[in-house]
Symmetry: C2
């Protein structure tokens, strides 16, 4: 099986948020699709290790903010590269809230869906939620950011490696997991957070 | 709820095929995403009225051919605008077959996934299948065709309406359902096949 074939699936890029009791949190995902139209339902898949996944299981509601072409890497970093277990990502952000009290993106976002979970299925690494769309709004006339756009335009290019130093390992930029060895296999996925080889950075010898 | 918000979800375009007993069939879909990575699983959503949906329920296997930038409107028409209940879409096509005997696209396609259904859920208009990826191949180095590309580049622009004739109804190009009335609401979806207002053509008075 050539796992690179799966890289040809097309996705958007989303800020997925929820609020369980007093705790609001959000993360960056790329997996949402409409799965039915009467009633209107979407499916999202969320990494089980993510705090947002745990909170959606508690609250049964989420907002899906569809990031658009004006989205910056700072936004991706803010919601995608740190955990809500360590940081309150919504502190000092004056974001609008949907009917369930869930904060959603008020900028860099072309549309938002407000959703109520109707079923969920644990798939090992991820949980698949099927949800009814309770409300939907268009927020800008910008084109949606695709995952391919994110990879080619938004994500900074990796720094050139220090040519005189040997690579001794690879660190996951998302969860800091360390892979020991000089060559990271291209199809490697992080055993902790499920991100792929693209999200690892080299660790050089001292 | 503004259903146009849902148009901002990003998708690819796929030829979804299966073989149940001696009957092979395929259709065009835009809904597939990877939902887990250990083991590798994808989810697809298929309109219940589609013959391919009925056959996947029988066979429990499918191939997902990811159409690429070289895909022509003829291919979309061949697999998407006629039903396998009326026509054998694979007759006279010399297509490769996967390990389950399912024919898949040998051209205009950047990758193919060969999948085995592990669970399914009826969502009213559609069935959601979760499937294990048994094999995956890269077939070309072309970029995948996105649904937005299909709408802007592949699909022919609608003909200008005959200015001296009145529109008396709208016909679904997919299943031929007729909507009676001069104005088709933009958010209308076909009650038979689930396709949207974009897939309807005007019927003029005699």
């Amino acid at each position: 099986m050539d796992k690179k074939a799966l890289y040809n699936l097309s996705y958007g890029v989303f800020m997925l948020s929820t609020k369980a009791g007093e705790i609001a949190n959000g993360c960056i995902t790329n997996t949402c699709m409409q799965v039915a139209n009467s009633p209107t339902r979407v499916a999202i898949s969320v990494i089980n290790a993510n705090y947002t996944c745990e909170l959606i299981k508690q609250s049964g509601v989420f907002a899906l903010s569809m990031l658009d072409q004006t989205c910056t890497f700072e936004t991706i970093k803010h919601f995608g590269f740190q955990s809500g277990r360590d940081v309150n990502k919504f502190a000092d952000m004056n974001l609008p809230k949907d009917g369930n009290g869930v904060p959603y993106m008020g900028w860099q976002t072309c549309a938002v869906l407000n959703c109520k979970v109707v079923s969920s299925q644990d798939l090992g690494s991820h949980t698949l939620f099927i949800a009814e769309v309770e409300d939907a709004k268009v927020l800008s006339d910008q084109a949606p950011l695709t995952y391919a756009d994110y990879q080619s335009k938004v994500k900074p290019k990796p720094e050139k490696k220090a040519e005189d130093k040997k690579i001794v390992g690879w660190r996951c930029k998302i969860c800091k997991y360390v892979y020991e060895g000089s060559e990271l296999p291209a199809e490697f996925t992080c055993p902790l957070c499920g991100h792929g080889a693209d999200d690892f950075e080299p660790i050089y010898e001292d």
